[in-house]
Symmetry: C2
Subunit: 300 residues, 2 copies
Amino acid sequence: MSADHPGILIALPGNEALSQSLADQLGWTTAPLAYRRFPDGESYLRIDADLKDRSVVLVATLNDPDARIPALLFAADLARDLGASRLGLVCPYLCYMRQDQRFRPGEALTSKTFARWLSAHFDWLVTVDPHLHRYASLDEIYTLESEVPASAPAIADWIKTSLDRPVLIGPDGESEQWIQAVAEIGNWPWRVFEKKRHGDREVDMRLPELDAIVDRQPVLIDDIISSGTTIAEATRHLCAAGLPAPVVIGIHGLHDERSRQTLNQAGVQRLVCTNSIANPDAAIDLSSLLVAPIRRLAGV
Amino acid sequence: MSADHPGILIALPGNEALSQSLADQLGWTTAPLAYRRFPDGESYLRIDADLKDRSVVLVATLNDPDARIPALLFAADLARDLGASRLGLVCPYLCYMRQDQRFRPGEALTSKTFARWLSAHFDWLVTVDPHLHRYASLDEIYTLESEVPASAPAIADWIKTSLDRPVLIGPDGESEQWIQAVAEIGNWPWRVFEKKRHGDREVDMRLPELDAIVDRQPVLIDDIISSGTTIAEATRHLCAAGLPAPVVIGIHGLHDERSRQTLNQAGVQRLVCTNSIANPDAAIDLSSLLVAPIRRLAGV
């Protein structure tokens, strides 16, 4: 770390609080990005700071991504143009990770294309728990350097201070990776719903070894809360089995008010998310997990 | 032109009518683009056609550009991925041409960045009357091949069939290029407002040789109609000078209902635009002007 020339953090609109928190923890400075939209819908950007030969970090989470992507890439190009010697992106929620396979011929593999765009504009990327399903790591599609700190320590901290006798429950097999990581930290029991097929279409959800956990507080954990239907279905199963109303923890809260209602109606006791996306349920702060990866990749 | 393998036109959402009109005039086929937004705001795209070794043309005008840019670039990448041997963009209104200079230090030169994005995704571009102000041609910032047919012949046709004894008037010096091109076709008189400074701030608009045109139908022409304030001011000057209420022709109609009211209140008799952007005032069809440039650049 160079004390004379620390890194400079620049927040895209809506990411100012996280950027300032990171600056405080890193001992770095922030620079303001003046951003507005012209009446014709074009983006105007200005950075009022000397970036020459500096290590610069843009902070931009990427929920609801399409309208944000041009401004982000314009800001990246501007930072380079103003002389940034190294350019990174802190993107707590990384978009376009879900379309990782052609389910029908002719479909766009947007995950690959988006990875190319970011890789062409940035030297490095820090994101939290990207939706790695069919890809084993970001390196399969990203050519920039990346670190992907897990949210598990922050989630485990929150559970420790907020809940008694938790049992962690994943709504499907995909969620096992997140559940297991949190459970190992707290040494808590965990279960994952299994799907059992009847005939061609009917699918039953089933939670194994239910008897051993009926007196515990169920905590449903998933990486992305969006429409809420998967979590709602799991909640109904838990309630029908006689378990207490579950607490739901989403790593990335992409949900809106309608999804929140779906969860409430299904019997969810409380919904909590990390602050990878700013929303009223973001009670779990990830910023301390980002500090070390940022310092390593920024090279200052 | 290869009759066995003509080009394939693919419309981005909202550009289907222009794409079909071009296909009819070129004797080419169109292919559908399935497009929708996922609940999380990501774009889904699918092209149901065999593009292998074909010359493919995306049709996408770019008003209100930011939300459209990701889908356009995803579609371009998809067309390449599906085997397109040559890929062009027909973009009647080309966005991000106005920010061509740093008026304050630290401003983003979005025109250059956007030009790089399009140049990285397409082999060629056809657009109509791009806003070339400080750039002499697209080649200063675009590295792809381009042709920029002028709308003047289509505008002159409309004036010939719709108006008697027109005099073409430009609201400012920048508009002279468009005015002169149309005036030469119809051999009509034309004038351009001059700005005269009083002291430091006050600016007067002045139309030279007014007496010779007072019995003619004024036709105000500008390349972009957006807020409408420039045209409204010119209209008030014309009306104050005793000329008939002007007809306004905008090449690219970026205006909304509020701008339309501004023009009405200033005394505009009628507003007409080309169909570079689909809106209720788009009475001047540009498609026939695009056919020859597309054929040349598509190479089929």
